[in-house]
Symmetry: C2
Subunit: 153 residues, 2 copies
Amino acid sequence: MNNQRCRQLQKLLHKEVPLSNRIGMTVDSYDGDRLALHAELEPNINIHGVAFGGSIYSLCALSGWGLLILRLEEKDLNPRIMITSAEISYQKPVMQNIKASSRLFAEHEFQNFIDQYKKKSRARIKIPVEVRLDNNELAARFTGEYIAFARAQ
Amino acid sequence: MNNQRCRQLQKLLHKEVPLSNRIGMTVDSYDGDRLALHAELEPNINIHGVAFGGSIYSLCALSGWGLLILRLEEKDLNPRIMITSAEISYQKPVMQNIKASSRLFAEHEFQNFIDQYKKKSRARIKIPVEVRLDNNELAARFTGEYIAFARAQ
């Protein structure tokens, strides 16, 4: 079930943002709470053998966006979603495939976001994303603010 | 003279970060104060016909980095430079080639950065970058913090 949703999300992200395909992005898992994506190191590597900061940011932005798509789907909602702002800090160089995982700050925030969206047809929410190395060390921390708005009929 | 420096910088960025080439990045101009880059829309477009936020971020990160390389060159310095954190806000969708321009916040900050680097062999500085549309409207505002450190001998 979740494998199928992951495949669908990956197909959607590759279609919506072709660059996600070019950076080697794959949707790995979703357990109803946390969404995990990765991007291969090779297309994102710089001359020093580490992942480019812009690629790490891009994967994080896709991860927050993907989580929001999945969580909204579960409420039978399919708004258009755009990122409006973000911040990122880099703690460790990434010398392996880049792994990003996103998870809501708090369920009640998501409920407020849904209530707001249903009332106003647009709402904003911040989504945190972490990039961790294989040894679980934190490599980057990202928070993106997204706006959801009703699609033109 | 500046045209030659622009070509050299473009070559360096394409070599250091191969993704910069894949997003169609070109160094446009440098007047000793402001560095202007652009990326073609096509490799960065999403399904809605606008530039992906991750591509805009990547171009901004390269723009801040490139400016720092040029300004340091003018002091005969060639440290390794990495981005340590950044924030970005998106004001308008970009439906054309993405144009980013970077410029120091203040010359005295740069002088402090140089003094610090000479003393400690490492120093940090924040660089602002703007993305403007052809009609000069602000489309995105980015600030990146970079660290410069002496290369291993």
